[in-house]
């Protein structure tokens, strides 16, 4: 708009963050009203959660396998391959699980949420709901937001399980690390609260909250044109990736 003051990149980003924050308050205020639409939330949970399972499982497996392979080579220099189980588990629970899951989720589910809501806006579907006295915030935005929030830790848990399986597959089954050592070292050093709960629950819930907010906000506020929807989808991936990695640093600094 020509009436608004010119913004540079920094003020623009800050303004967007502020607007997204206000949008979050709108969403939270609408949560009680959206309880009527539980079925819609479940349906969205299926779309963003269950439909992301394949990519999460495949990627988790490969990340774990690569980790097992790299660790085997590095640790065998020092004759310490027995520690491989510990390092795989800690790396996956603390960092790779929540971060990679969130990045994949932003690309797989976040973009489709943005594009879907953006197209609903462009084709007047949101206006039609308003006209049928159905609040689109409560019916469209909140269910998708909650679905993302709930799906993220679950997907992260699946990712971690498959990652450790992948590490075990390469390290123990293929390269011959002792099975008992692999597991016992892991269980002896991995702490349920510090590693598993912090990673799967705290980090991925935080990522879920941020990625879902970005996806829903971008879709809801996009200009109602094909170009606008295309840009909004891109912005979802870019903003989510930056937010995930920045937030990861902050959370790690506070949690460790």
């Amino acid at each position: 708009m020509s009436a608004q003051p010119r913004r540079n990149v920094v003020t623009n980003a800050l303004a967007q963050i502020g607007e997204a924050g206000l949008f979050l308050l709108t969403l939270l205020a609408a949560v009680p009203r959206s309880l009527r639409h539980v079925r819609e939330t479940v349906r969205q949970l299926w779309f963003v959660g269950a439909m992301s399972l394949t990519i999460i499982m495949v990627c988790g497996l490969f990340v774990g396998m690569v980790l097992g392979l790299q660790l085997y080579y590095v640790l065998s220099i020092f004759g310490g391959t027995a520690a491989s189980g510990t390092v795989v588990a800690i790396a996956i629970y603390r960092e790779l699980g929540p971060v990679v899951t969130a990045l994949l989720f932003a690309g797989r589910a976040g973009t489709s949420v943005t594009a879907e809501i953006g197209l609903m806006r462009a084709t007047d579907q949101l206006a039609a709901m308003e006209m049928m006295a159905v609040d689109p915030i409560a019916y469209v935005a909140v269910p998708r937001y909650l679905a993302g929030l709930i799906a993220m830790p679950l997907l992260c848990a699946v990712f971690c399980a498959l990652g450790i399986f992948g590490g075990h597959l390469v390290g123990v089954t293929w390269l011959g690390i002792d099975n008992g050592t692999f597991w016992s070292n892991m269980t002896a050093t991995v702490d349920v609260w510090k590693d598993v709960v912090n990673g799967i629950l705290v980090k991925s819930l935080a990522f879920g909250a941020v990625v879902s907010l970005i996806a829903v906000y971008q879709g809801y506020t996009t200009p109602p044109t094909s170009e606008g929807v295309a840009y909004a989808t891109t912005r979802t991936v870019v903003a989510s990736s930056i937010a995930i990695l920045a937030l990861d640093f902050v959370l790690t600094a506070f949690l460790m």
Binding site: M120, D124, M131, M132, A133, V134
Partner: protein, 275 residues
């Protein structure tokens, strides 16, 4: 018009509505009444603000000044809850259908029922199929919106707009893209809804011949005001320069054909040559 001296209040009463969008005056102290239980048509050149007017009636947009009273309530002043309660009694046919692409035809028509009532499934099914039958699309109940033609999508949107038997139905260009058979079916439907259920209808349309068959009264809007009104059968011959030009299709006259713009010669770079 004697019908306008009827004892009941008009269902929609617009007084002094003034709206400026992006520096362009869309409505300039517009006065307009929609009488209860009648079919009222609104005509006017493209871009004159007919869709915008319907959006004011439903509270999707607010004017800068003036009153929009619907059933005695001042729409711009209503709280969100009251506005939603009012909208449950209004059916709205969007100019571009606006069907929910996630759902099939049946669920699209059932959507308002499912959202606002706890009716048993059998009853919902009966109501939805009745409405689809009325627009001739009962057989298309299982199709997705993407599988419909433009004209079919409009009829589904029409079925959805009337599913609640609202007190007021606003049709934004209901006749666009209909073949002559579907057109007379839709005309009959509008008439039937009006006569049997007493539903007040507002039609925005460009087809004078169709309007003649259903509408009791017609408003011609141009330049942000009502420039002519009357019985649709005779309005074209009322002798005013507005109706003579609009219905005669002349490019020159009081109704502007061009969107407001700066000097044409200047825009083409011919200003110097003329000076």
């Amino acid at each position: 018009m004697t019908t306008f001296a009827a004892p009941t209040e008009p269902l929609v009463r617009i007084r002094g509505l003034t709206t400026v969008l992006n520096g362009k005056t869309i409505f300039d102290a517009l006065d307009l009444d929609i009488p209860r239980g009648k079919v009222t048509a609104i005509m006017g050149p493209s871009g004159t603000g007919k869709t915008t007017l319907l959006k004011h009636v439903t509270g999707q947009m607010r004017g800068d000044a003036g009153q929009v009273l619907v059933d005695g309530q001042d729409v711009p002043e209503l709280s969100r809850e009251k506005l939603f309660a009012l909208r449950e009694k209004i059916g709205y046919l969007f100019q571009n259908s606006a069907l929910l692409t996630d759902f099939d035809v049946f669920e699209n028509v059932a959507f308002p029922l499912r959202q606002h009532t706890q009716l048993p499934e059998v009853l919902i099914r009966n109501i939805v199929l009745t409405k689809l039958q009325a627009v001739g699309l009962r057989g298309a109940a299982g199709l997705m919106p993407a599988e419909l033609s433009g004209g079919m999508a409009r009829r589904v949107a029409l079925a959805r707009a009337i599913v609640f038997d609202p007190m007021l139905i606003l049709y934004d260009e209901p006749f666009v893209g209909l073949d002559p058979i579907a057109l007379s079916q839709v005309l009959k439907l509008i008439r039937t809804l009006n006569e049997t259920l007493g539903i007040t209808s507002v039609l925005v349309a460009h087809e004078l011949e169709a309007i003649k068959q259903v509408a009791d009264h017609v408003y011609l809007i141009a330049n942000g005001k009502v420039v002519a009104q009357g019985d649709p059968k005779t309005i074209a011959e009322d002798g005013s320069p507005w109706t003579r030009q609009f219905f005669g299709g002349a490019i020159d006259g009081p109704v502007p054909f061009q969107y407001p713009a700066d000097d044409y010669a200047q825009a083409l770079g011919l200003a110097g040559a003329r000076a």
